[in-house]
């Protein structure tokens, strides 16, 4: 703890002293500010010292048929642990577990209330207009829980756009077909947009099984087919008073088989049907010196699980779960002084769950949080803010805070920021109520997080831009919850470990833009040790060992070249060795995948057609994101997009 505080103070000192030497700097332009401007909700959502990264719109456009899992795995520093294409995909953000990543949709926390772990395979990129990553635990807007970081996906209406229709079709290997369309209609003060999406796949790729039998043998992936269909309706209205009203309804359903690890003789069938409704309505009003926002959201998620066997020998098994949530938030922001902005926020969430596996027929949870933010523009090159929040989670009180500083050390070239935060993660409803095993004596996970970022930007001539960003972070998470077997034949969650996670993240981008030619090279690298920092007993061999399924090294590189409407993109992603047991006795191999994409855009009189050829895993590498769950080998996809 002392080290951590010293680390933070050192960063502030470094930041300040450097800034004081640069007396001529002017203005600031940091990512967090950029993000704020782009978000529809203009209340400050994250401390100015927090590192924020955005997935570029070009990347989002190029991955419309992919899931959020594939998008993040290939283009961010988040490690996605996947059981295969279309199958469960969870995250590890800054060396934390899947439940420590908070996922927000238009500012609403959409982590499943039962398990807490978000399945990124179930979010088609097509339904997102913005994806931003808030690194560390400084994001409090969605309540407690974001110990590793937050991933915010948003829908955005560009009032400058005209009415239009976008549609695309894609055929890919292993009988994977995708169709999607969106229709935007714009009136003088209103815009509505409808999106439809459907994808299905047999997902039966062939691979060499080297682990199950005496002789290695080829087989096709069994029980991995899936389909997903979704619909989103957005409406945005400008009111005469200058206020705006927006409403979004997103319905999605999908069915998928649950594949088994290849170390198992498959003798059963498992299927999961998942249906979800996400919706919100928001009123926003901006006045000269203040801003108010009221939002109400309703979320529902139903999950039906079925297991059956080929013969009638054994009875089929099933379970039905339904989770619903209501969110209500009110935000108010005002400039109390010229350079001081104050905002307050109140949020109420009510969750209720009906689950066959719970100890009680119906489980409810009420969460109220009150938040204040004070942003101080100290001088024009220095900002500081303090977020404080108190959350009442079913009677338990959790006070948290985050604070940050950002500074433009050399105007237009070098920026620096640093942040500190303290956050909690309450046990999920599964942790508390699952039968058997649910443990009502669990205490929340909690810990400090510190990080510091340096951002350097350079324009070389008129056509070349260079940007590089380095972040160092450190966080402690105490009372880490793990599900462990018990002597009573079932598993039980317990507060077991105290974890130290630290590391470095870097992002470098270089782009060249000419009249008819543009090229961009982007490179991400993250180094993220995450270890159990306390011995639970003398012979504890997990002490200072890397947590399972947290790669120490991860990087990805993206090169895109565009000339005269033809673009070529090359993408490589490296994921380092991941230990699969707590004492580092077992691990799964590092892997690198390479993808290429060739796209052509033909535009004529407002009509655009863009055929695309994409080859994922071009070298046909066998790799496993989760041990013994093979990922698809080479995937060739042909796509055509039409815009009218």
């Amino acid at each position: 703890m002392q080290k951590a505080v010293a680390f933070f103070l050192l960063l502030i000192f470094f930041n300040r002293s450097f800034a004081q030497n640069e007396g001529t700097v002017r203005g600031y332009s940091l990512d967090s500010v950029v993000v704020k401007e782009k978000m529809r909700n203009k209340i400050d959502e994250v401390t100015v010292g927090t590192r924020v990264s955005l997935i570029s719109s070009a990347v989002l456009q190029g991955t419309q048929t992919k899931s959020l899992a594939e998008l993040l795995s290939d283009n961010s520093m988040v490690y996605i642990k996947s059981l295969g294409q279309g199958a469960l995909a969870t995250s590890s953000f800054r060396g934390t577990s899947s439940g420590h990543t908070q996922v927000n949709w238009n500012g609403i926390n959409i982590n499943p209330v039962m398990s807490g772990s978000f399945d990124f395979s179930q979010i088609p990129v097509f339904f997102t207009d913005q994806v931003s990553l808030y690194h560390g635990s400084g994001y409090l807007k969605g309540g407690t829980g974001a110990l590793g970081g937050s991933i915010n996906i948003g829908n955005k209406m560009d009032w400058r756009d005209t009415s239009r229709i976008d549609a695309f079709l894609e055929c890919a290997s292993y009988d994977t077909y995708t169709a999607a369309a969106s229709v935007s209609v714009r009136g003088r003060n209103a815009v509505c947009k409808t999106r439809l999406y459907y994808q299905e796949s047999d997902n039966d790729y062939r691979y060499l099984n080297k682990v199950l039998k005496l002789e290695d043998f080829y087989e096709r992936r069994k029980e991995a087919n899936y389909s997903i269909a979704g619909f989103m309706q957005e409406g945005y209205l400008k009111l005469p008073s200058g206020a705006s009203l927006s409403a979004v309804l997103w319905c999605q359903g999908g069915t998928r088989r649950l594949p088994q690890p290849i170390i198992v003789n498959v003798t059963q069938h498992e299927k999961q049907n998942e249906y979800s409704v996400k919706s919100f309505i928001e009123y926003q009003e901006e006045k000269k010196r203040s801003e108010i926002s009221l939002k109400a959201a309703y979320l529902a998620n139903s999950l039906d699980y079925d297991k059956w066997f080929d013969s009638d020998y054994f009875p089929a098994e099933n379970s039905r779960n339904l989770a619903q949530s209501i969110h209500m938030t009110a935000d108010y922001c005002t400039d109390i002084f010229k350079n001081v902005k104050l905002s307050g926020s109140a949020r109420y969430t009510h969750d209720w769950v009906k689950a066959g596996n719970y100890s009680e027929n119906s489980v409810n949870r009420n969460v109220i949080s009150l938040q204040t933010v004070c942003l101080w523009n100290v001088v024009n090159w220095l900002n500081a803010d303090l977020h404080s929040m108190v959350e009442f989670n079913d009677g338990k009180v959790a006070p948290t805070f985050s604070a940050g500083i950002n500074s433009s050390l050399i105007a237009g070239y070098l920026d620096a920021k640093t942040a500190i935060s303290y956050n909690y993660r309450f046990p999920t409803l599964n942790d508390l109520y699952w039968q058997p095993g649910g443990n009502k004596n669990l205490v929340p996970e909690h810990g400090f997080s510190y990080d510091a970022t340096l951002l350097y930007k350079q324009r070389i001539g008129n056509k070349t831009f260079f940007k590089t960003e380095f972040t160092a972070y450190m966080m402690n998470i105490d009372d880490w919850i793990m599900w462990l077997p018990t002597m009573n034949w079932y598993w039980e969650p317990r507060n077991v470990q105290n974890v130290l996670s630290y590391g470095v993240e870097s992002f470098t981008e270089c782009s060249v833009v000419c009249d008819k030619f543009s090229a961009k090279l982007a490179f991400n690298y993250t180094y993220s040790p995450s270890v159990n920092r306390e011995r639970n007993f003398e012979e504890d061999d997990t002490y200072y060992k890397q947590l399972p399924y947290v790669p120490i090294n991860k990087s990805n590189l993206r090169l895109s070249i565009n000339r005269g409407g033809i673009s070529l993109t090359y993408h490589a992603c490296y994921t380092g060795k991941r230990y699969t047991s707590a004492d580092e006795s077992y691990s799964t191999k590092a892997y690198t995948t390479h993808d290429v994409e060739l796209k052509c855009e033909l535009v004529k009189k407002g009509f655009k057609i863009a055929p695309k050829l994409r080859i994922d895993n071009i070298f046909n590498a066998y790799y496993e994101s989760t041990q013994y769950y093979p990922m698809p080998l080479r995937v060739i996809s042909v796509n055509i997009m039409i815009r009218i």
């Binding site: 039998k213 198992v264 020998y313 793990m482 462990l484 047991s581």
Partner: protein, 470 residues
């Protein structure tokens, strides 16, 4: 006379000229060995050189027929050696270990003959036991750990030899037909392994829903495997094929775990029912019976044991006590029960050393003599704080009560997940620590109070002693 003198001189001349070539009996001397015995220890390979002094004639060396597989000899004549002495190079091969053995090497100079005994004391490197570790469910981290008589361990010997994982959730290892059959619960598979090398020989693959557990032979070709999914599976252990699945649904014993065969009957631990029995030549749900007179609730993790008298013992718990049930296999009735009451806080018996309970995962075993049962209980060490430690207690199968002083106390044990007794009565505990997914320990609790610990796989659950590989 002159002729005779000439002849003698000629002989002397020839003898002088060929002095080195004359070999007389007793001249074949082996240097570097005493008593014509060469003692070696077992390694993967071992070169050992014996120097043969004073030998000038052509030599031959031959290993006795029965030892040629592991012992080879080669003669290097003095013309090829620096010191002009003949050398006999003995090359001994072994697996990871072997029983003590002797090869007889006959060295023959044509005139003289010596028999050299090559004694290989391999037992130290011979595998004494194999520890079966379950590994984490769905993670494929089941392991076999080989431990030699010297105490050397290879913690994941199957992976080392075969370059592939053992499988998902190992439940049991059974020696049958000269092979190890390792039953893998969640892989729905039985791996067949060569005991000497740990080489994978084949797999028995289930094609129907199953969760196989324990195995017992019922004939010279067939075995029965118990299952968590209310069935028995008949397999051919010669061809590694599943023959049939026999549903237990609707039978008097819907779920069987540990199995043991006595004559033409198989007895199985049946959760909440006691002990079930069926005939090896008539396995169907309708023919399964329950042993009558069973007392208590059977602990299915504890082995059923056949004692020196041919009786079967089963461990059970009842209210405030453990119960040992002794079953006559012929009559299928419980003939004797031994109650082990637990000391209760606040009573006179609640004193240091009192038995306070057992584990829901408790284990029971016997030794080579089969005259004694060993089982895991908890023993009070601090009545004030009400703290207990594990302890192994024993029962002489001919006695009517257990020995009240523990056979071994088990301090420092994290979480008992398996216990086995060596043929000599040594106590081995499988310690899965705090159940976090890390490699556990095999702990030997010695009579002198010392504890020898060895890291093995994740969640170690049983120890198989190779002495029983017969």
């Amino acid at each position: 006379m002159k002729k005779n003198l000439f002849f003698v001189l000629l002989l002397l001349f020839i003898a002088a000229c060929s002095k080195d070539d004359v070999v007389t009996p007793g001249q074949l001397k082996l240097d570097g060995v005493s008593g014509n015995e060469l003692k070696l220890t077992s390694d993967e390979t071992k070169d050992s050189t014996v120097i043969l002094e004073g030998v000038t004639a052509k030599l031959s060396a031959e290993v006795d027929y029965g030892s040629k597989e592991w012992c080879e000899v080669e003669v290097i004549e003095k013309s090829q050696s620096k010191d002009k002495k003949n050398r006999l190079v003995i090359n001994v091969k072994a697996y990871q270990g072997n029983e003590d053995r002797t090869a007889y090497v006959t060295i023959n100079s044509g005139v003289d003959k010596v028999i050299l005994s090559v004694i290989q004391s391999g037992r130290g490197e011979k595998v004494r036991m194999v520890v079966v570790s379950e590994g984490q469910f769905t993670k494929g981290t089941a392991t076999l750990t080989s431990v030699t008589y010297n105490g050397n361990a290879v913690w994941d010997v199957f992976q080392d030899v075969n370059k592939k994982p053992l499988g998902d959730v190992a439940q049991s290892l059974t020696y049958l037909d000269g092979k190890y059959f390792v039953v893998l619960n969640n892989s729905k598979q039985i791996k067949v392994i060569e005991p000497q090398t740990f080489r994978l020989l084949g797999t028995v693959d289930y094609e129907q829903a199953a969760s196989p557990r324990f195995m017992v032979p019922i004939s010279s070709t067939e075995a029965i495997v118990s299952d968590l999914m209310s069935q028995l599976t008949r397999i051919n252990y010669k061809t590694y094929k599943v023959i049939e699945h026999i549903s237990l649904t609707g039978s008097s014993a819907p779920s069987l775990e540990k199995l043991i065969r006595v004559g033409n009957k198989v007895f199985g631990a049946c959760s909440s029912k006691g002990v079930a029995v069926f005939d090896t030549d008539n396995i169907n749900p309708g023919s399964i019976r329950l042993v009558s007179g069973f007392s208590g609730r059977i602990i299915t993790t504890a082995k059923l044991i056949v004692d020196k008298n041919g009786k079967i013992w089963a461990f059970a718990t009842a209210s405030g006590m453990s119960v040992l049930n002794c079953i006559d296999p012929a009559t299928e009735k419980v003939v004797k029960t031994i109650e082990i009451p637990y000391a209760v806080s606040g009573t006179d018996g609640y004193v240091e050393g009192a038995i306070t309970g057992t584990s829901g995962y408790t284990r029971m075993d016997t030794d080579r003599t089969k005259g004694k049962l060993y089982f895991y209980m908890t023993m009070l060490v601090n009545p004030t704080r009400k703290t207990s430690i594990g302890a192994i207690y024993t029962l002489d199968v001919d006695a009517d009560a257990i020995s009240l002083s523990p056979y071994r106390e088990l301090p420092g044990l994290g979480m008992m997940y398996g216990m086995n007794i060596s043929p000599d009565g040594d106590v081995f505990l499988c310690d899965c620590l705090d159940y976090t997914a890390q490699r556990g320990f095999l702990r030997e609790y010695r009579a002198d109070g010392n504890v020898v610990s060895q890291r093995v796989g994740i969640y170690p659950r049983m120890v198989h002693f190779t002495e029983y590989d017969k």
